[in-house]
Amino acid sequence: MAATRWLEKTIGDVAGSIERAVFTEEHARRRAWLQSLDPRAKLGMFLALVLATGLSASLPVLAVLYAAVLVAARVSETPFDFFVKRVWLGIPLFAGIVIVPSLFLGPPPFLLRARAGPVTLAVSIPAAWAALVFIARVGVSVSLAVLLVLTTRWADLLKTLRVLRVPEVFVLVLSMTYRYLFLFLHTLGGMLEARRSRTVGRTGGAEQRRWIVASIGCLMRRSFQMSSDVYSAMHARGFTGHIRSHSTYRMTGADWLALGGSVLLAAAALAAPRAHMSP
């Protein structure tokens, strides 16, 4: 029975994970340092530090930047284990796969040599060093992004996109997607429960697939209906295709100080690395 319900279980778990990850906003609602900053200041800090991380080729500099991120995470009361694991469990997998071929294509000296028949595989020391720097860059950048997302509510995060001159219609569509994703996840959850309550015997793979397809069709039809209704609701309040928005943000001294500090740190990181380009 359990084996035949894998599709249903997968959908349920994916929906539950998305809901927990995106919609709880538990950490973003805490009264701590990063959470109290204006989201535009946070976005500026994030961009400055990501730029410095991307351009830095020095492991010590990247280590300093990562230490700064960890301190910021600590004072912002984000759960430390969760934050570190979330970043470092995925990075070796994705960044590692990208970087592996380059390890064998670098110039001498070599760290390791291995013969496999007619082919000799040699891990180049400069390539291994570059791989390490690459993984460190990805790690710091992803940590910055995770920290920004953990400490900023989605609504604020979307609004700050306007600072980057992202068209308002794009921001509105994103925010509506975010809004209705939740609703459809709940609908999906309800459909799963309704099915489970009526499923008595075993169901085969073909039956499972048929049900999944039917559910997708049902959700799609509902989403079409809802999009039409939502447009009516927008139209009823005067929407004619032009998006207008309201900003309630105010930059305070603390916001400017945090932004200035981050820009200075980024500038220092950019100025420092030349002395440490290689091992």
């Binding site: 989605w154 609703l183 309630t248």
Partner: protein, 260 residues
């Protein structure tokens, strides 16, 4: 029975108004009605009798298939199909609260939803802020202004949906099943809010099939029959006392609602 007044330009004048979904399914079949400024009217009808369709027509969201509809003396086709300015003026005066608040609350936060209407009308930032604060206070939901709609309870969603229309400061408020699926305490809170709005002279048309709230929120009741036409129209208490009318409109059932 007739509940219309004479001598003044009515807010709504409907003559043989019909609407068909997809040009096929008849949703409203020949409605004649007049509603005057300051009236509080309950539109009663069973499921599928055309209550929601009628409100959407009155709000200009739907365009009539046949018949005439005038709002403040102006044909609704020329208002909603006219210039952007005409549409602005129309939607500023007439506000519709949809039955499903999840449709109405499409923004990331309650404040954004309440601000949506005033912003579309081209109001300045300070005016928008003032209109939103007033609407949020009026509905008693200022404390949840920065919450996401999916975090709200059913009652809070309904209040947020009403606030999103009140921020337009409309002369006419159209409410589609405002108390459906709510518990008694939340229902009472909303009924109280509708009564307060009525006292301010706002014209309110409420579609409902919850008969117990009708005497509280409306002076006049219009009954839509299952043929999607007006079956009765008159003072709310008089309409509610007419059992045969309510039975024929499928609003009560003789076995479920015995006399007395």
């Amino acid at each position: 029975m007739s509940g219309g007044e004479s001598g003044r330009t009515p807010v709504f004048r409907l003559r043989d108004l019909r609407y068909r979904y997809h040009d096929r399914h008849l949703a409203l079949g020949g409605v004649d009605l007049e509603v005057h400024q300051g009236e509080q009217v309950a539109v009663l009808g069973a499921n599928g009798s055309g209550k929601s369709t009628l409100l959407k027509l009155l709000d200009g969201v739907l365009t009539p298939s046949d018949g005439e509809l005038e709002v403040f003396g102006v044909p609704v086709r020329s208002v909603t199909g006219g210039s952007e300015e005409d549409a602005f003026r129309f939607h500023r005066r007439v506000g519709l609260v949809f039955q499903d608040p999840d449709i109405q609350l499409f923004s990331a936060t309650v404040f954004d939803d309440v601000a949506f209407g005033p912003l579309q009308l081209g109001l300045g930032q300070q005016e928008v802020r003032a209109a939103c604060d007033e609407a949020l206070d009026q509905m008693g939901i200022a404390h949840i202004a920065d919450r996401a709609p999916f975090e709200l309870s059913g009652g809070e969603k309904k209040r947020a949906a009403i606030a999103s229309v009140l921020s337009l400061r409309p002369d006419v408020l159209l409410l589609d099943e405002p108390t459906a699926s709510l518990d008694p305490r939340t229902t009472w809170t909303l009924v109280n809010l509708i009564m307060e709005l009525g006292r301010t002279g706002t014209t309110i048309i409420t579609a409902t099939h919850q008969l117990e709230i009708v005497p509280l929120i409306a002076h006049r009741a219009v009954v839509l029959g299952e043929d999607r036409r007006v079956l009765g129209d008159g003072p709310a208490r008089q309409v509610l006392a007419d059992r045969s009318l309510l039975v024929s409109a499928n609003l009560i059932h003789p076995r479920l609602h015995p006399p007395g």
